[in-house]
Amino acid sequence: MSLDFNDETFRGDYTFKNSAKAIKRFPFPFPEDSYMYSVNMEPHVPGPVGSIFEHMFDVDEHYVAEMRDRAQVLADDPLRCQSLPHMELAGWDLLELIMESKARDYPHWFELHKDGNNWHWINKPLQIEQRFTFMDASTLPYGPLEYITRQTQGDFTLQDQRDDDLWIEAGMVTTQADWSLDFDIGMSFKQWHAPVPLAGQMGIFDRALKFLLKLQHGAPVRRFNWTMTVDPLLDTSPENYPKWGPSKTTMTPETIGHRQHLRVELQTLHRLPRSNAIVFPIRCYLIRFEELVTVPKWARRLHRVVRDIPDELATYKGFLRNKPLMLDYLAQFDDGQPTSLGFAPD
């Protein structure tokens, strides 16, 4: 593996870790000392050089290892990538968006050469070279959605738009916060979000849907979501819950700093041109508590957020049982000093 990418695992011996550079650019999701749901969408425009917002689709040091993990998840359970038949066109839209973005943003790693519909794609980190006919799925080893998302970090769902609603009808979901693509595929926006507590009553989904129905091509938006994960396990799926659930019960004050991770999702939304569908990339970033507390402001703030979160939300996010353990650990880094507004370290 090249020097650009870590040789690490997200299962078994869990050798995943963030370099100092990765910690520095980690998307800490709390702009203030408390947390409640909000729609909080902003334009997905390029950010500072080196930040996770620098490019449309961030490729970081975990890329190759994440793709290896995804291949293993799919080998174990092919149902993690599905596309209802009418969503193939949206799959081609997504393939084009990702290939063009990566070839433009990371020319030393990715190349796309087009001669009409004859396309030539080179992915150097994964050692893939593919000649294929755009819009002809028989010239690729997988459907367009699966082909390109086996080479792109983050989960992806594709939403068809009709009848003033968004329908989740295709996706690649192997790094999820405990929801099942296989069960949810085919659902409307509100059906798919039905199990989320509180947010529905707050009108969050009404506002978000109304906004997304008007999302325009060329004007993507982004927001953050977050949860907690014990051990750097990407695949926290309901399918495998009996396999990873017990890990929550074996954490101790001695191991929590190493085993407990904050899991942040950078969610972006893009209108796709041919299909009029919306793609929803959900990019997961993991950071272990002992990495996170190296930034004093983040340590103070995370302590306060976890302390004040309603139990209903902690239950939904799956960390209620370890909340006391987390607070004991984080409290030692909270000296009560005020924190500055915004995400950035002081």
Partner: protein, 321 residues
């Protein structure tokens, strides 16, 4: 939260007189770059500087969705309207610089349909020209029924019949030809979706006939852009920005808000999409609700207005803008 996508600076590449009522315009980007690909049924908003009055009219894209070299629209001349179509007909010439919005699709095909049944009246043909091209590329099943006044006014009849053969059915009013809608709707396979674009009467006729024959609402789709109606001048106050002004007879409320330098959201400018919905803080008088967006109850309550097409008569109108 803003939905603003960058606008497209274009130059008029071609103006074609299709017949005595219709002109076709082709736009290419000023910087020579590719246009965004679009989905059949999309429209763009064309910005016009009509001798100091800024007009922004929506037109369906009718070029091939995969043609990224340029966009084409067709404009029917409306002698009694506010002048947008007259401006396009009389003043827009090849070489002129104009500005288009990004394409937005408020009239998409249902990708799950087993068959697409398209019904067009007059200039309502334009979205279907792009949709048929797209469905054909995808290998989908479709049929067009196109009703128009006379052979002389039958824009694109020859071109469509030549290309799509028996899938295109044309009806000329002058020859007393009419779509036999009841027979047509009786024999469609399960999973067929209807799309209708044309005059208000035709849209209502198709919806009502389909409903009476047991078609589900969600299988019948229509698009009707309203031109902002002309009317009497009226005064309006904007509470948030602290501005007051008069809306002129041939100006829409939205255009007047923009002319006052206040930014207001919009997508279709034809009363269909809901984007420009604005809170009414005070209404001493009568709002002429001309949109397809607000429900009847909302219209009666007079607490919201769609400034792209609706007007006002009365003593005072104050908006939260």
């Amino acid at each position: 939260m803003s939905v603003g996508a960058p606008k497209i600076p274009v130059v008029v590449a071609e103006v074609v007189e299709v017949n005595e009522l219709i002109k076709r315009f082709r736009f290419v980007r000023r910087d020579g770059a590719a246009m965004p690909i679009f989905s059949g049924g999309s429209h763009v908003v064309v910005e016009m500087d009509d001798h100091g009055t800024r007009r922004m009219n929506p037109y369906s894209l009718m070029s091939h969705p995969a043609d990224t070299m340029g966009y084409e629209i067709s404009v029917r001349r409306d002698e009694v309207g506010r002048g947008g179509s007259l401006y396009m007909h009389n003043h827009v010439k090849p070489g002129m610089e104009m500005v288009l919005s990004q394409p937005v699709n408020l009239f998409p095909l249902d990708a799950r349909a087993k068959k697409h049944l398209m019904i067009a009246g007059g200039i309502g043909i334009t979205p279907f020209v792009a949709q048929m091209a797209q469905v054909e590329t995808m290998g989908g099943r479709f049929e067009l029924h196109y009703s128009v006044r006379s052979p002389a006014l039958g824009a694109y009849v020859d071109r469509l019949q030549q290309h799509y053969g028996p899938r295109v059915h044309v009806y000329f009013d002058e020859l007393r030809q009419q779509i036999d809608l009841k027979t047509l709707l009786k024999s469609q396979p399960l999973g067929t979706h209807i799309y209708v674009c044309g005059p208000k009467g035709m849209i209502g006729w198709v919806h009502a006939t389909a409903k009476a024959m047991g078609w589900p609402d969600r299988a019948v789709h229509s698009e009707e852009f309203l031109a902002p109606p002309v009317g009497l001048a009226f005064d309006v106050q904007l509470a948030a920005s602290g501005k007051s002004f008069t809306v002129q007879p041939n100006q829409s409320l939205l255009e007047a808000i923009e002319a006052a330098g206040v930014e207001a959201p919009y997508l279709c400018r034809g009363g269909a999409c809901g984007q420009c919905e604005t809170e009414v803080l005070r209404c001493d008088g009568h709002i002429e609700h001309n949109d397809h967006w607000l429900t009847d109850d909302q219209k009666a309550a007079n607490t919201k207005i769609m400034p792209c097409v609706s007007r006002f008569r009365g003593a005072a109108l104050i908006l939260d803008r």
